[in-house]
Symmetry: C2
Subunit: 705 residues, 2 copies
């Protein structure tokens, strides 16, 4: 059986808590089911009535003679538990709890929700909510819901499913889609997620043949890593997953505190998951609409090279600005394309990219030329997608242009988008013709560029997923069992076994032990103590030590500093390390996040690393290609390519370090809380860790798998 | 007389080039004037007809008996010059050239445009265009225009004027405004700007009492500094100036090349002007609509502390995210506010910020509580603006909420915005009530945040303009006359006279001259030669020289390098400078831009400065407050405040350097092309230039004033 089949397609719905007060949630549910022609059985429940809206009304769930697939619970929180017990007794498979007064409302509410879940678990019953707007199957007129989901306008049937952790805001997205004639399959407001959560719903929607695109509004997840697996499955299935992550700033996270207090600050990790799984992030309501239109056209650019054509120079310039900002590049047309265009484009226009038709070109009398021009550009193998700026084109001209395009798009696999600013009523039916031909029509050139970029990003993710779908081999990674923080020397040794090169260093007990002749200056001299973490601040670090005399003095100095500033610290000795005086300082590390598990971070290193915050991260484990993507995200990336006459640095070696680190972090996720490599030197022919720290994980924490 | 009075309010319009072909520009003009009921005289001109659309048609301009205030020229380019001559003979004050075929179309077109301008100048006639959609005065039904400007829907009368360098794209903005019921005063498409340009039109609109808000789409300006003065005048007048700058990326600038090839890459300078003059930058069509709505409500936040209230938790979180991203902060309510709220907000809601009403709170039966809640938050002196999330509130509830708000806003000077996602038809007239009360209703919480931030930025700019409206005193700045590049020593000396401190250094001829005892190590040793600009690459720089022996060797080394690598370079000696080993490396400089004149840049310095591109700029001259704004924009700003236990650095001293540099650059704009101070060290109690270069300006270049 499909997941949640009886929830999504119930043969019968009991509504507990109907009332003469039409505003009550249960009343809204029954009214909506009746108004929309739900074809299953509706069982209103309220001992006060014998009928409700012409239906037989039952005194209790037990009194219902037939099976109940879904029980919608619209009674006040204090009586919900007894209804849940009734549901259990009746063997109802799904209960939808509309009422608030649970986890979101203090200790009593938390206890009530826990008890609710316990009863359900015992009975094998699944719960939606509580404190939610409920669920709707638009195709089957199922509304186990109340509030905005049940109010006009009725959503049309379609292939988009919505899962939202905020009923009010999530449904705002659905309403905007509705205004753009986008149709829906399931609408799901998850509320408190006492039982079934966003992850499980999305998982079920991936198995729902009628769902082709999933939009989710997410404030927080208990298991962020599950989103990665879900996203990768969605990607493999070719079902775009569009996610709006709410609570991503400090203010936003504080505002979301009651739901997601423990998840603050993990936005970078969500973004890492989005990138690793080809999840499309949305951050505006119209963006959801635009991207859905783009995906519904089902054509994907094979690259990022775009062409723009139209009679409005300004619109082309605005598109070019937006395209560059979202990582699209402008196609250079072939000589053949320019030759053909020069025959059909007026002399005062332009036959390079952007193609300038000049004003008035898109018109009935000029349809053949327009068709040739568009077809020519579509045929150019340097072009991956085309933006047609209709701009203010109106009336019969707009219709003529629309007809030309609708005749062309069936014969191309390349996306064709239209920017049109003319009010719908003045397009001479052109808008209708474009929409019928499944050509996305968007309200600004900026929006066209962003939607095309989303398609390109998605296609790239699909390609990457095809390449790297094999498991990452973690067998070569060393397994360790650190009970606490490892010393620099031990950390480096462990990382060397994991395949990460580090600077040569020697641990000495006193100044006399220094084997100057075995090492190459300059040196870094550092105190080694499990009790001194901030070595620099404690006078425990000397850099750029060059001569033997300096070295001996430096070793003595750091020992003396430790003795005077941290008299009780256990001192294991002094580490004398070869310093690296060239290349570029990066930092690399792992954190073992409570929601996402092991995550690898790379960033610009050096003194100001923390302040400038130039970092990129991915969930471990991953391969070198993913590692290179991370490096490419850094603002300091150009420096690695060689600047101001300096040689290019070994980006592949850095990628190998990151991939090795990711395997190590994954394999040791039960025991390792954190790895810090700072600095990690990128050099012309290698990448070398110059300092490292491995922090053990308290066994009390439960790792994520 | 007001500027362009007879152009904007002509008593008569001659249209040269009417035709039975209704598509011809001239025909469109006459049809539009007739359809919209223009009250002045219309004189169609075409020798082929005796009447046109019921009007007497004239064989020539000369044949018209009355005066002609505006001549609209819709004939092909090749016959435009003779029409222009007729206009001159007829003493027509304004000609609007609709036709293309001028500067935008090659050498012949350029010659034609030059000739057109010469005839006009001679006759004292002003020209709009050519190659433009023309101008319209919506209040007076004047349409000296064709194309989209003349097509339905007719714009309603209002107080917004639009000036656009792209007719097609600019009018797309007007159409979006029209759909949001925003009314217009003047619509002006400037085309080739042979004579009257964007700057002059905006200047005239500032003097137009009926224009309250100006929106401009700009691709390029011949005089960028004029925009600064214009913006400052608009700010002083309290007329918001909203500018969309097109062609701001490399691709965008290339696309705009035919118009603005010489202005490529100056987007930073435009942005500097926007900041210095309180110009509001827009980058999306809906942003123009939102910001106009915001400004038309005529209430400005006195600070950046915002509150959000509603029944949709998700909408509040999304607002919080967006608010933080645009620099708004969340108000902390007073104890009094929380107490009052706790009386009127349900217990399971929240009385801190964001205020959570819980679902269903905004409703007719609860109007009194809702009113008290909103009024209480508005009365809190910690709150500068309020976002009300109506979200999906619909029908009678929406109307009731709207009525409450419309009753409250008259009594507050604080901005109140509404996010509403319910389709207009389902708001129970609530949308209408809100709009009548001049409450901006926007389609997403993100858009509310952005619009509030625009208002806050504008108010801050107005306050700053009130403070710094006095002239900058440039009298103390040294005047120099550099014919070429000054040496480091000379550059530092000049800058010292301008009030900019620099490191001590000594110029020596040979290694024997070094006055080791007079200086404090470490030293930088640099070759001094007017012919060696890239000193490091030529082996001409030694850093961190500490001992006398090292110093002597270093001086000899750089002299030897110069001799072997640049044997023909004139070597003036070797500069021995005290090095600064602490603080933070910035860079500061000036460029003398052909469009903007002297501009001052500050940025993060050091080896990777160019790659990381962390810079801020302003047009010179400016005061220290503006300089501090620049510093505050830098990504590296937190480092200057002191990080990781390091002391705070002297930001005021850096600001004094930048202000001094700006006065110097302005006073020497005739002679100085460029000043480079790199590095400029920010230290705990000072800011010191460690290297400097002043590049003279070839007398051939004409400076901008």
């Amino acid at each position: 059986m499909k997941q949640f089949e009886r929830l999504f397609e119930p043969r019968s719905i009991a509504v507990v808590g109907v009332s003469e007060d039409a505003v009550r949630p249960g009343s809204q549910t029954v009214h909506t089911l009746l108004r929309n022609g739900y074809e299953g059985q509706i069982y209103p429940v309220n001992p006060k009535y014998s009928t409700f809206e012409g239906l037989r009304c039952y005194p209790s769930l037990a009194a219902i003679e037939g099976d109940v697939d879904v029980a919608v619970i619209g009674v006040p929180a204090r009586v919900v538990l007894s209804v849940i017990e009734d549901c259990a007794a009746k063997r109802v498979p799904y209960a939808v709890g509309l009422s608030g007064g649970f986890r979101e409302s203090g200790a009593d509410g938390i206890a009530r929700q826990d008890r609710m879940l316990a009863i359900a678990r015992e009975a094998g019953m699944r719960i939606v909510g509580p404190n939610c707007l409920g669920v709707a199957n638009i195709h089957r007129d199922v509304y186990a819901a109340f509030g905005s989901i049940t109010r006009p306008p009725k959503l049309r049937k379609g292939s988009v499913s919505l899962v939202t952790q905020s009923g009010g805001f999530g449904y705002s997205i659905a309403l905007a889609c509705a205004r753009a004639a986008i149709g829906f399959r399931h609408v799901i407001a998850t509320g408190n997620e006492a039982d079934i959560d966003t992850i499980q719903f999305i998982d079920a929607l991936l198995d729902d043949a009628a769902t082709k695109i999933i939009v989710a509004y997410i404030e927080g997840l208990a298991n962020g890593r599950a989103l990665l697996h879900l996203g990768q499955r969605a990607l493999a299935l070719g079902k775009p997953l569009l996610v709006w992550k709410g609570g991503v700033t400090q203010q936003g996270a504080r505002a979301a505190a009651s739901h997601t207090a423990n998840l603050t600050g993990s936005y970078e990790f969500y973004q890492a998951v989005f990138k690793q799984a080809g999840i499309i992030e949305i951050g505006e309501i119209h963006e959801a609409v635009d991207f859905i239109k783009a995906f519904q056209a089902q054509k994907f650019p094979q690259g990022r090279r775009v062409a723009v054509m139209g009679g409005s120079g300004g619109s082309a310039i605005v598109f070019a600005d937006a395209a560059e900002r979202c990582g699209l590049t402008f196609s250079t047309f072939s000589e053949q394309t320019r030759r053909t265009l020069s025959v059909v484009v007026p002399e005062i226009g332009a036959v390079h990219n952007p193609v300038d038709f000049t004003a008035g070109y898109i018109a009935g009398g000029n349809a053949a030329n327009f068709a040739t021009a568009v077809q020519t550009v579509l045929d150019d193998h340097n072009v991956d997608a085309v933006c047609l700026n209709f701009a203010t084109t109106a009336g019969a001209s707009c219709l003529a242009g629309a007809q030309v395009l609708s005749g062309l798009v069936d014969n191309t696999a390349k996306p064709v988008f239209v920017f049109l600013s003319t009010p719908p009523s003045e397009t001479g039916n052109g808008l209708f013709v474009l929409e019928e031909a499944n050509i996305p029509v968007l309200g600004s050139p900026v929006r066209v560029a962003r939607a095309l970029a989303a398609l390109a990003t998605y296609r790239e993710a699909r390609e990457r997923c095809a390449i790297t779908s094999g498991e990452i081999d973690v067998s070569s990674s060393p397994t360790i069992d650190p009970r606490a923080t490892l010393s620099e020397a031990d950390s480096k040794a462990v990382l060397r076994r994991a395949g990460i090169a580090s600077t040569r260093d020697v641990l000495v007990r006193c100044a006399d032990d220094v084997p100057f002749e075995k090492l190459r200056p300059p040196f870094a001299v550092k105190i080694v103590s499990p009790d001194i973490l901030h070595k620099t601040e404690m006078g425990g670090v000397k850099l750029n030590v060059r001569t033997q005399a300096e070295l001996v003095a430096a070793v003595q100095d750091v020992l003396d500093s430790a003795k005077s500033l941290a008299p009780h610290a256990r001192v294991e000795g002094v580490l004398v390390s070869e310093m690296i005086a060239e290349g570029f300082e990066l930092l690399a590390g792992t954190v073992n996040d409570v929601v996402f598990g092991p995550v690898v971070v790379v960033g610009a290193g050096g003194t100001h690393a923390e302040t400038l915050h130039d970092t990129a991260c991915r969930l471990a484990p991953f391969d070198e290609r993913t590692a290179r993507d991370m490096i490419d995200e850094l603002d300091c990336r150009p420096i690695l390519g060689g600047t101001r006459g300096k040689p290019a640095l070994d980006v592949d070696a850095v990628a190998r370090v990151l991939a090795a680190l990711s395997r190590f972090a994954w394999q040791n996720r039960e025991t390792v809380a954190e790895v810090d490599i700072n600095p990690l030197f990128a050099l012309p022919n290698s990448a070398i860790a110059a300092d490292a720290l491995i922090v053990g994980r308290s066994p009390a924490n439960t790792p994520i798998n």
